[in-house]
Symmetry: C2
Subunit: 708 residues, 2 copies
């Protein structure tokens, strides 16, 4: 034994019982123990999920730059006021502009993706101009108009910050129902933008309160007394030299929100505000000098594929916190543990709380990647195609499917993510309620994702409607796009039972995929039949759809489960080696968990027997235990730096208590009592009689002391 070892042992022998205990449950040692279990190459998984070495390098470069940038200091974020937060958020604008102007679009997108993870409020504020305002120009302006506004400074932020004024206090999802009017005045060749009622007040307009000089305003086009529906107009709001609002423009601050307080949402009322005719963006509908209106033939399709991956990214952050904490937090001593408490992660029930969510996160990440790739391929095929091309129809079908599926998945995945954040928060026990552990704010910031970019319920119903129309097309013999191709196979799927010789055969992606196809075929068909019965009752199609909305919602939800599993299984099938070995477990866990969650449907349509469902349940338990063994390596593969995670409970080194305590002390420096003299002193010193009573024994009766 070396003398150093001897000294260490000597020290150990002199430890108090409490110190020995502290050593046995040392969180850093607990974390190292978990990390040592890795059965696969963590770095290889990181590269795989990021899309290659170059992408990982880029991410790491951006994470480091942000961490070192004092503007992006995030550890005091919970203790600054809304005004300070907003001011600090504005301060970041300029540094982002630098990157915007000097980086490739791809690099800048990656930067914004990382920024969104650490500062969703800033991401929104920046995104309102570059995503929404510039996006509105790109979608709605003619090339000449686009050039004009870019020259005016819309791209360089020169005397120009844009905002996006669609929502009104009384109107959200129903864009055609907006009340703001844009009336063409032939005499002056101008549009008059006007807010006719209180409910027409523009509301939630990000950037309106303090940032924007111009707005992309959505208003009812009225020409010669006739209404042409909602169009987009650029309306100057403020003098860029003084930031005073222009005549007829009234703007106010929307104030405090559940989260994202860094963005200055505002309301706007227009009172007969005149703009030149050319400020109407006329890529689609055109209004001539003489007041002739020319309407477009085709409508645009939106895609929400990025929100699937975003949900995966936020889930990664939440799970990094909850799983790392569970690897070092101990609670209750088992029967053979010599008083050493058990790690949360070793409790079967805690595995049940977190491992399926970890699996679901991988499912969302794989789906996001696969969908984005497919979407990009289709878009470039579309761009390259000419009318009459053989495969144009196919491309359009796939894009329509992507549009509808991504609408449903946006809802499905943002709900999944919000629930994951909350489940992680609760899994951290009381500490999840502290602001400094990060999950509370993450919930509050993320919550809006279930509402904006399309209310989740409405989007889910849209997918349901699409599925019904696919079902009807299939009955008419139309070949559907791959994602809904199972509806071309109804005869085979309806009534099909699982054909396995042993229960163990259930543990296969093929069986799970077939199971989801059978269940989805049934629920889509039921919704379709209900819809057609409603039509037969004489309802108009829209009403017929409303009356079967619960079935639509159900069909869309189950289709999304099945879709996610398909994409995940497809992604995993392309991988090999030790990374495949762990991912296939994670994939099976997601598949069986998704079946368990929907056991009613699998039993209802008799794809599985009760005994098979019982086996699914116990297999989920087993897979949770197996994935738990690799939980820390899997979380490590997410490769989010401590700065990005911004929670002492999610620290990579596991040293949670020291850093949590330090953070709380740093954020709450000791000072004078803030209101002792004003409030407490008069309260507790008031004269109420008595109180001089003294008793050395403190009321402990001598008869209580039976020293026999």
């Amino acid at each position: 034994m070396s003398s150093a070892q001897k000294r260490i042992q000597a020290v150990k022998q002199h430890l108090t019982p409490e110190q020995k205990y502290a050593q046995a449950v040392d969180p850093v040692a607990s974390m190292n123990e978990e990390r040592a279990k890795a059965s696969f190459d963590i770095r290889a998984l990181t590269l795989l999920m990021d899309g290659g070495q170059k992408q990982t390098d880029l991410k790491e470069k951006i994470m480091q730059e942000l961490e070192r940038d004092p503007l992006f200091k995030m550890d005091d974020i919970h203790d600054i006021s809304k005004s300070e937060l907003r001011e600090r958020t504005m301060e970041k604008f300029r540094s982002m502009l630098h990157y915007l102007q000097n980086e490739s679009v791809e690099t800048f997108k990656k930067r914004m993706e990382i920024v969104s993870l650490i500062d969703p409020g800033f991401w929104t504020r920046f995104g309102v101009h570059y995503g929404l305002f510039v996006g509105a120009l790109q979608s709605n302006a003619t090339s000449g108009q686009l050039g004009y506004w870019f020259e005016k400074g819309a791209l360089s932020l020169s005397n120009f910050v844009g905002c996006f004024a669609m929502t009104e206090i009384g109107h959200g999802s129903n864009v055609p129902g907006l009340e703001t009017t844009a009336t063409f005045d032939e005499a002056s060749d101008q549009f008059i933008i006007h807010t006719p009622t209180l409910t027409a007040t523009k509301w939630w307009i990000g950037g309106a309160a303090h940032s924007a000089t111009h707005a992309a305003v959505f208003a009812q086009l009225i020409v010669k007394g006739k209404r042409y529906g909602t169009k987009c107009f650029v309306v100057p709001l403020r003098d860029p030299k003084t930031y005073n609002t222009l005549p007829g423009i009234n703007i106010g601050d929307i104030g405090k929100k559940m989260g994202r307080d860094g963005i200055d949402n505002g309301w706007i009322q227009f009172t007969h505000v005149r703009i030149p005719r050319g400020y109407m963006l006329q890529k689609h509908t055109k209004v001539s000098r003489a007041g002739h209106v020319k309407e477009p033939k085709l409508q645009q399709l939106a895609s929400r594929v990025t929100m699937v991956a975003d949900s995966g990214h936020f889930s990664k952050k939440a799970l990094s916190i909850a799983i790392r904490y569970a690897a070092v937090r101990r609670q209750f001593a088992g029967s053979n543990a010599n008083g050493i408490e058990t790690k949360l992660l070793d409790y079967p029930i805690h595995q049940r709380r977190l491992m399926p969510l970890l699996a679901q996160t991988f499912a969302m990440l794989f789906t996001g990647t696969e969908m984005t790739d497919m979407y990009n391929i289709m878009m470039s095929r579309l761009d390259g195609a000419k009318e009459g091309d053989e495969d144009l129809d196919e491309v359009i079908e796939i894009l329509k499917e992507t549009h509808s599926t991504s609408a449903g998945l946006k809802a499905f995945c943002t709900w999944n993510c919000l629930n994951t954040i909350e489940a992680c928060r609760q899994a951290c026990g009381g500490h999840g309620y502290s602001a400094y552990t990060g999950l509370a704010q993450m919930y509050q910031d993320f919550a809006v994702q279930c509402t904006w970019e399309g209310d989740n319920t409405i989007l889910t119903l849209q997918l349901g409607r699409y599925l019904i129309s696919c079902y009807r097309d299939a009955l008419n013999g139309k070949k559907l796009s791959p994602g809904v191709g199972y509806l071309n196979n109804l005869d085979n799927l309806i009534g099909k039972k699982c054909q396995v010789k042993s229960l163990e055969e259930l543990l296969s992606p093929e069986v799970i995929i077939e199971g989801w196809q059978v269940v989805c075929a049934n629920v889509v068909r039921n919704a379709g039949i209900e819809f057609e019965e409603n039509l037969k009752k004489g309802l108009q199609p829209d009403d017929a759809y409303e009356q079967c909305s619960q079935s639509r919602l159900y069909a869309a939800k189950l289709h999304s489960f099945g879709y996610l599993f398909n994409r995940f299984a497809d992604g995993v099938s392309k991988i090999s080696g030790s990374v495949h070995d762990i991912l296939i477990k994670v994939c099976l866990l997601y598949g069986l968990y998704s079946i368990e969650e929907n056991a009613g449907a699998f039993l209802q349509y008799e794809y599985f027997t009760p005994a098979q469902i019982e086996f699914v349940r116990s297999s989920v338990n087993k897979l949770c235990a197996e994935v738990r063994e690799q939980a820390i390596p899997l979380v490590d593969s997410f490769n989010l730096s401590d700065y990005i995670i911004n929670s002492p409970l999610g620290r990579k080194d596991g040293n949670v208590y020291v850093h949590y305590f330090e953070q709380v002390k740093r954020s709450n420096p000791q000072g004078e009592h803030p209101y002792f003299n004003r409030l407490i002193k008069p309260l507790i010193e008031r004269d109420i009689g008595g109180g001089d009573y003294e008793d050395e024994e403190a009321g402990l009766e001598s008869e209580d002391e039976d020293d026999e």
Copy 2:
């Protein structure tokens, strides 16, 4: 036609299309329309739910007093800082003391119940002293000690504010595992209170940061080197004259939380702090002058029945907002609506989102009342009973059942309530994300209920463990207490199928009750069998329980569903008349919804056939539509004043937009731009070349203007 009518008509004829539209969708008229649909006596339902005229009068008196008390001003609560909020919270203490000293316990409890609904942070801060600290004295002090601390000022807050120091940063649910030590020093007849490690730091201690002079500290009793487990000690923290901390006491502020920032949670470290032996509360374990320790025979049983009703009360508040808003908010015009948009409440899917939650709220309220009544009856029978009394065993069995069931229901109902608040928030669309509509803060304040007073997962597992032990007792022939009595009937229930001649017969409480008994009997039995198999494998009982925790959780969850329905159906069966007619619908809705949510279990154990489950689904749709007709009258029966609801969207008169807009303007007064000169001016005026470009046509190409 009178001249007044003529004038009104003349005015109407001159309305612009926008004004006519505004009139057609007037929210106040929409609300009145709903209220006029009442099929039952709203007041009668209010009295029923409150427990009689006297209770309702008292509630209304308290609501009015609070509304008029400037200290309880609540409409600016979202825009004040944490420090202001805490100071204001302290200010309310004194006014509450007045009522505490002058009202009956029952009246004061009712007052606190209402206070908790409007200001959960204050309720907590006050409750920490009167509920937790005084409660700890009452549970743990001898009568002499109780008298001593009351004389010292613990009841009158004379030189005394208490806090409750149980949780440590490293230890929450496992109270026996707390690390803080209380070592008896025989020489001085004192205890030495000490924080041996960082993880032993007392954490989350409400009132510690700025309010408390004394703490009820839970620490490991050590006498003559032997540990006796966790006991309770009163430890002075601060000099009440100066509020300086006493020697050896270090206290800090826990800072920002997800919600309830009015309460000043703190951390405490003790460094060899000496207290007299008499400061150990010795009702149960006693330590004599000579260091003899006498340990108690019986442990206390806690009851969490009040948290069931509390969950009902917060759900009422959330649903008042979401349902009233849905009655006036309109979105999309139906096919025959002349452009008048449809009320959210008229959408089947919106009914599906809110009506089952409304039914669940009634279920929780009935259950809360029934359990409280039963608990009080049993407690008075227990107090009146003597050892050897015939019915003492029965009473103890029922109390044990109440203890376990209320633990499980605390979890079940607080989760229900949190989900209800979030569902209501999302059902308000974007406005649910505004602070001023109240639901965001309600979520943030309520969230902690799922963790404190016993972590929900752990409590659910406790109920699961109790159910397994009941199952085993039943096998041994023991007669169980009524709430788990179905386990005495296993032979009859296992394998039982629903015996109805027609689907319509499913719409009966008896069938639903039987269905839940069959399903619960199966899942409890499965958990019991799994537990016994684990024992046979050689596991210790505790480990055997851990290994079947998922089955325990599942059994407890289903038992809670069935229990709630039972109590609800039982309560409704005692009512008659028009109130019964509506409540029986609400009750059936809850019952069928609860079956639908757990369709997997009902199919798995073959109580229902797939066709019957399909009928349940369509019946839930129908009942949602029927209950929707009475939704506003039902919400009105909750009888929460606009002040208590504190949300412009939940206003009784339906005038939501006017008041929401006013609130936002009042809370965000216009002022100078906060950072224009410092940040915006240099950003948007920086010289980047170009920008002088002017173009009257704003880039609208002349070739785009085809005036043919």
